[in-house]
Amino acid sequence: MTFTQPLLKKNKRWHNLLSKKVLSLLFFFTLGFLSAQEKYTLSGTISEASSNETLIGVTLVIPELSTGVTTNEYGFYSITLPQGEYDIIISYLGFQDIREQISLVKDIKMDFNLVEEMSQLDEVVVTEDVEKLDIKKPQISVNSLSSQTIKQIPVVLGEADVIKSLVLLPGVTNAGEASSGFNVRGGAADQNLILLDEAIVFNSSHLFGFFSVFNPDAIKDVKLFKGGIPARYGGRVSSVLDIFQKEGNSKELKVSGGIGAVASRLLVEGPIDKDRTAFLVGGRASYAHLFLPLFDINNRAYFYDLNTKINHRINERNSIFLSGYFGRDLFSINDSFVNIYGNAVGNFRWNHLFSDKLFSNLSVIYSDYFYGLELDFVGFEWDSGIQNFNLKYDLKHYLNDKLTLDYGLNNIYYVFNPGKIKPNRDDSGIVEDQLTKKYANETAAYVSIEHKVSEQLSLNYGLRVSHFNRLGQDEVFVYENDNPLIFDSTFQVYREAIPTDTIDPGRGSSLERFTNLEPRVSLAYNFKGKSSIKASYTRLAQYLHLLSNTNSPTPLDVWTPSGPFVEPQLLDQYAVGYFRNINEGEFSLEMEAFYKDIQNRIDYIDGADLIANDAIERVILNGEARAYGLEILLRKNEGTFKGWLAYTLSRSEQRTPGRTGVLDQNGQPAVETGINFGEWYNTPFDKTHDIALFASYDASEKWNFNANFVYQTGQPTNFPEGQFEFRGLTIPFFGLRNQERLPDFHRLDVSATLTPKRNKRKKIKSEWVFSIYNVYNRMNAASINFRENEDTGRNEALRTSIFGIIPSVTYNFKF
């Protein structure tokens, strides 16, 4: 006994210490509950008066306590305050403020309806901008765009476009005109998580990037997280683009639409059961033969998409939403070459209030990306795609006015179809073949706390735990020494290994598992509510990779899951920022610096062919990427003249060293070269300078003018060091990767919107949008190609540019 006593004692001390810690921690969290005797909760939903459309990000402020709350993605708010009489102010861009006095002597449920502001030029309109800076919130590196702003930004051929608008924000670039996707802080396009009503969208572009797949009429809210990504998001390392669609007008039937140079839109929404059930159907279609006017009638190129949504408010505590998206692009050349691709998304959501303080949302989502191809002159059809089943349960717990807790679970099951080929006619010699389908399951749980420590200091800290299980598949290649990529020491090149065997591990097995802890921390410290400094650290894991070695993703690029030879990408991002509201918020200034570092960024060996490649491990090397930069955004938020100026100075690089301890073709230890001899090289998304200017001017009730200007350093590319001749062909040869740059990219666009005076008797509201894209007709290089001119036999550098000056007119209506 005597021996064990000290031990026991020690143990007890430990216990005491531990329980004290736990207690204090508990105390810390339950502060709200303990003192809840004198505290009551004000909660409810805030929506738009004429349609009952819930509003995201509306601020409810209690000036007396200088505290407040914003509505969540479903228009819900909740705040717990000491008993008392309060003035509350509810404000939202473009809507009249609501001021109300409440007597908080018990828990109160209060829904508010905001009335749209008829902006009058001769009166001073005080607007609270959704896009306006909230300097107190710890959220850093986030940009919001309202669908109103998106519609004001002039774009090519007059089609309002979400992704084209994003490029005007600091830290966001793209590979130029008509390129799909976008790049955030030097990241690749596949590193953006794009969510449409919580469903993952795998391809965001129509017509290879001319337009994005989001119908601007159906969009309610767009948020882009470039850093400081909250723990409820995960799966992509660069950014989160969170898009919410409208729910539908539950008061009256409304129709809106537009007729443009390229496409037409129509959106119908209305009540099924007034104030309780509403529907929304939106469609958009381009005109056929769109871009092939020079060719005869057998060629087609068009796209369409369809958005549908039904929402039903069961009672005060429960609402359900059913939504769907379906979009397709079709190209066909003389029926010899037919190409169809697009997304389909189905989504069921259930909002449930457990209490005034605990909001929950359950989402069940199915999403599918399909890519199909028919090449009649070779005699085959080709299908590929990715499907996922996504189950999400998110809870938001408004503990008190200091603490808000987010927690939830997420499970995604993926099926990847890298490709199936089959003959398209009887006389075709093609043998039907299915490239091995891949399966994976991604599970995540998170908790995150938004904590107002004091009047000055707010914190947001959380943790996401993600687990990825690469499931078994019908065929797995086996390689000698487990090495799918062999370095040939004689020729100093990488070569694909030939599989020694193919095994069937069975669908029930697991090929590889990965677990990652992803902590997220951000803080904001404000000085008298006028300026603040913020800082954040984010760790993120990405388990899916888009196989693409072109400058901009193509629709036939295939997603592949992490597994035995492909490690998950791991990001560490640090950001600090200084934020200031100037002149009562008329102007705002945001400055941020970031540094990020990504492990396991793959790059492709020289000459890798990724199309229909069944064994991608044979053409990739693991490397790392890093990016750092400074972003400045100066905004004018109010008045008849609004807009912003964004400047980004940044650098984005990657490094792919040779492996060590791997045998070469002769079984000898090899000294591998890696890519570019293991030195850092520019990623294709490295843009040293990026300037964007957007200005909007309300000249009169009838006229509104908009302009934007973009300047980006030319994108890294390769120029030949010389030429050689082989089989009569002239072949340029190149040195190290991405050492040269395309000429700088810049462009000015302008537009004017005419809103004819409304005839009071008529219900129809209409507007004309006149726009000129690329006003000074700058021939920006999409690429420079080096080749021999077939007619003259001379070698030349050929610049491809997509759009010169393009004027267009769009007519929009609403009734």
Partner: protein, 270 residues
Amino acid sequence: MRKVLVFIAAIFLFFSCEEVIDVDLPTSEPRLVVDALIGFNTSNGDPITVGEVRLTLTAPFFDEEVPPAENAIVTITDEQTGDVFPLSESEPGVFSTGFPELQFDRDYTLTIQYDGQIFTAMERMNASPVIDDAVQGDGFLFDEEEETEVIITFTDLPGERNNYLFSFGFDNFLVIDDEFFQDSEITFSYFYEDVEPGDLLPITLFGIDDEFATYTELVLTQSGEDGGGPFAVPPATIKGNIINTTNSDNFPFGYFAISEFDARFITVSE
């Protein structure tokens, strides 16, 4: 399948605009370039060997011509017998006579002595099927006026994975592998541009190995065939199968390959 990108790029280029511009380019030291495709055919009864070893040097990209690499000593060694066959230079840098009678399943080494350095490559002959049929069709892809369709049928060599190189004349080539038509007969269309009635279209099918197929694909891609645009694949340094045994850093460009071949000729009709 790489061709699919070419098609997409082609659609892309319909509505884009191309212009020749001036660009300052980096330069590099000249390297030896070896273009040595040796063909073998027995269809007329007698085995014939045709082909040449063409030696040139690299040049700055905008130079109008590449210079020949003159005064080299070129031999082919039959590794089974040890016989060495010297080739003779018929015009500057071109060696087209003196080839041995080729056999299957035998290693042949090409040796080049040039500028005090020795370059070598060893290869075997790859078998080829015959072209079953090649006829003119009336289909087209983009433009009925400019294009002439040729419908080609051949049968995959059974029991193994194969790669084939088609040469259509006028510097037009196509590399195919049999992944999706193993052991079966395949018919496909090739579209010539700007050929006139009466023109002779030479169609040659070569059997090639994996490495040469990859090499030729890269060469074709990089020679500007894929049109570029945002879908352009990053260019690579295309290394062939020839080693500089004197100084490995000064590697040559080009390839040495031996292929059985079959050829057809079509005269374009109206």
